[in-house]
């Protein structure tokens, strides 16, 4: 009987130690803004490294950071820096969140090329999108109604614009919502009184980007942090990454990884 118990205990220990090795996969969880970078990077990384097994899911920055603190994910995607309260919790849980900037998020404000307005302040952008300003004449343009074009609410760009430009206020309810950055640029290019916002990678010759607080959206102004509607995007790991997690983080920060970030509409760091 004792031998059987010993056998069971030893067996359980072997299975207990072996299971994590067998199931050694990387779990990424968090920000829906960072999600497209994580998904595409994971896909390409797994193609290159046949042994890698990466699971990617959204849920939001708070969920990702909470999971990293609880130890249920290896990498937390976050469109904001970790909060002091989350750092407190991490420290209490003997965790050491290490920030990795994986791309920059910059959102350009665009108008129809026929519009004579070239510059807006951040406050004017907010007032236009929240409905306080509804005519271009109020910001130095022609006497023409402003047509508001916005991304739809599930979009990460909508969320980022709401936080960075509108200070969490809501876009006026009669705005025309579009399902993609390309669609926003297309509608603005065809509508004389329109204003829209798109990821920096989607500005093209059919639309005109305006300066915000005197600064034009560009890779340089976003990377230097001077363009007001920009922010860093993070992945957090528990301590300095090692093993497969390090290999993946190195890949995300590599030229190839940064190219993936640019393909998803963000500003790469390389």
């Amino acid at each position: 009987m004792r031998a059987t118990i010993k056998l069971l205990v030893v067996g359980a220990l072997i299975v207990g130690f072996a299971l994590p090795c067998y199931a050694a996969k990387i779990v990424i969880e968090g920000s829906t803004t960072v999600l497209p970078i994580a998904q595409k990077a994971a896909e390409v990384f797994m193609d290159k490294d046949g042994k890698a097994d990466i699971s990617v899911r959204g849920g939001g920055s708070s969920v990702g950071i909470a999971s990293m603190i609880d130890g249920t994910c290896d990498i937390a995607g976050a469109s904001r820096a970790i909060k002091d309260s989350e750092l407190d919790k991490a420290i209490a849980n003997s965790r050491n969140p290490v920030a990795h900037v994986v791309a920059m998020d910059g959102i350009a404000v665009i108008v129809n090329p026929s519009n004579n307005v070239n510059a807006l302040t951040k406050k004017q952008v907010k007032d236009i999108y929240t409905g306080k300003i509804s005519n271009w004449a109020d910001v130095g343009g022609k006497n023409e109604q402003i047509v508001i074009i916005s991304r739809d609410t599930p979009s990460g760009t909508y969320e980022a614009f709401g936080e960075l430009a509108l200070e969490k206020d809501k876009v006026r309810p009669d705005a025309l919502l579009q399902a993609s950055n390309q669609a926003v640029a297309s509608v603005v290019s065809r509508t004389p009184g329109a204003i829209g916002y798109v990821g920096l990678g989607y500005v093209n010759s059919a639309v005109k980007a305006v300066t915000v607080n005197g600064i034009m959206a560009s890779k340089e102004t976003v990377l230097s942090g001077t363009y007001p509607i920009s922010r860093p995007l993070f992945m957090y790991t528990n301590g300095q990454p090692s093993g497969e997690v390090k290999a993946f983080m190195d890949f995300v920060k590599s030229s190839e990884g940064q190219r993936i970030a640019e393909e998803q509409g963000f500003v790469g760091l390389k």
Binding site: G59, A81, L87, A92, R95, A99, T153, K219, G225
Partner: protein, 423 residues
């Protein structure tokens, strides 16, 4: 590699140079720009170094390990709030003669938290109010009425406790605690009460949508030198929080309370509305059970073009299972619309609660002191409106209209106009 070296040097420089709160950020930006201009770093690498260095510094300060600030400053937090209130009470007695009262009141609360180590903190709070234990306000109010020929006002110990967090999902608290079981409609507890004793709180994310929590508390109600069986309170509250979708969340809990050894005793702060055997001695012990639920919805009226950020519906029920007679239950139902949290100018919320509490549902030392003076055996409507004036300050109007269930007393109306400031 060069990026790692630059980041290491910058972090070291900030520590040695006494750069606190990133006040040298401008100089660091200049240094990074020079490195970019000389081709040592790309603009992207400079941004990476700038941001990751700041994040490392923040972490060090939160951990209290930075050499740039005195340890006590890094491990202590001071917070507080001040409220100026104008309150009108308009009660009617049995004879229908009106007895109006208009008061100016203030509330000042100061709280201090100090980290003993990474797992242990000590917190203390001080607040205005009275310590006259014969009054219901001693435990249930931090208001100070202005008057008495400009007399100085007292500040009392509101709470003082130690909190141990061995792992992120478990918190142990002991002392006079700023901690109450969760309830959405304030049916059982006045939120100013700070229970005394010890508590365990467990909270765990089961998956990305579900969090389970459990609160257990042992509270000291009174200590009698002549008795071996002092009045105590036991609380068990399991609960769950579930994200039904991106916009809809659900929180529910079931509470079990056991107020033991209070039968035959007179409790401090009692409003005298529980059943008594003789004089002010309680006839019963109290073991209320209480299920409660709250549903929160983000942008609930978006489909019809109305921009309201948040709405919630909530309810609770209580039943004292220690007795079999009548008048032992209660319930509250309510809703809230507006901002989830008042943070800036123009944020607003509107809340309504209907509450009914029979005379022996809970001990009468607990209920909201604004609902008919904190008595049991009442029903009450409450409408509350808050409006953000700027960051950390908001204006509020709170109106109660309450009735006694059993007696012939007519309704009491309370109107409170509040100017709130947090710091």
């Amino acid at each position: 590699m060069k990026k790692v070296v630059v980041m290491f040097l910058l972090t070291g420089l900030m520590c040695i140079g006494g750069a606190i709160d990133f006040s040298h950020a401008g100089e660091i930006d200049l240094l990074l720009q020079k490195l970019v201009d000389k081709g040592v770093l790309t603009p992207g690498e400079a941004q990476q170094v700038r941001t990751e260095t700041k994040e490392e510094m923040r972490k060090e300060i939160v951990q209290g390990k930075s050499e740039t600030l005195p340890g006590w400053l890094q491990t202590m937090k001071l917070k507080g709030d001040f409220r100026f209130r104008v309150q009108n009470n308009h009660p009617k007695t049995a004879g229908q003669s009106e007895n109006e009262r208009l008061r100016a009141r203030i509330r000042l609360r100061l709280g201090l938290e100090a980290k003993v180590n990474d797992q242990l903190l000590v917190a203390a709070g001080f607040a205005t109010g009275t310590t006259d234990t014969s009054s219901a306000d001693a435990a249930r109010s931090t208001n100070q009425t202005l008057g008495d020929s400009f007399a100085k006002k007292a500040i009392n110990l509101d709470y003082a406790y130690a909190q141990y967090t061995p792992v992120g999902w478990a918190v142990f608290t002991a002392g006079k605690m700023k901690l109450l079981p969760w309830e959405p409609a304030d049916l059982i507890w006045d939120t100013d009460i700070t229970p005394e004793g010890a508590a365990v709180q467990l909270s765990k994310n089961i998956n990305s949508k579900t969090t389970i929590f459990f609160t257990s508390m042992l509270g000291v109600i009174d200590e009698l030198s002549s008795e071996s069986s002092d009045p105590v309170m036991y609380v068990l509250q399991p609960g769950v929080q579930y994200q039904l979708s991106d916009t809809v969340s659900l929180k529910g809990a079931f509470s079990y309370y056991d107020f033991a050894n209070i039968k035959g005793r007179a409790l401090d702060g009692s409003t005298g509305t529980n059943s008594h055997s003789s004089g002010s001695y309680l006839r019963y012990n109290y073991r209320p059970i209480s299920p409660a639920i709250e549903i929160g919805i983000k942008e609930p009226f978006k489909a019809i073009g109305i921009n309201v950020p948040y709405a919630s519906l909530f309810g609770e029920y209580v039943n004292n299972i220690a007795i079999s007679s009548k008048n032992k239950s209660g319930y509250a139902l309510g809703f809230k619309v507006g901002a989830e949290k008042i943070q800036k100018w123009g944020d607003w919320d509107l809340k309504y609660i209907y509450a009914m509490l029979e005379k022996d549902a809970v001990p009468d030392i607990l209920p909201d002191s604004d609902r008919y003076g904190g008595k049991t055996g009442i029903r009450s409507h409450e409408v509350m409106f808050n409006y953000g004036l700027s960051k950390n300050t908001f204006f509020g109007v709170d109106v109660y209209r309450s009735w006694a269930l059993a007696s012939a007393q007519a309704p009491e109306t309370i109107v409170q106009l509040d100017w709130n400031m947090k710091f």
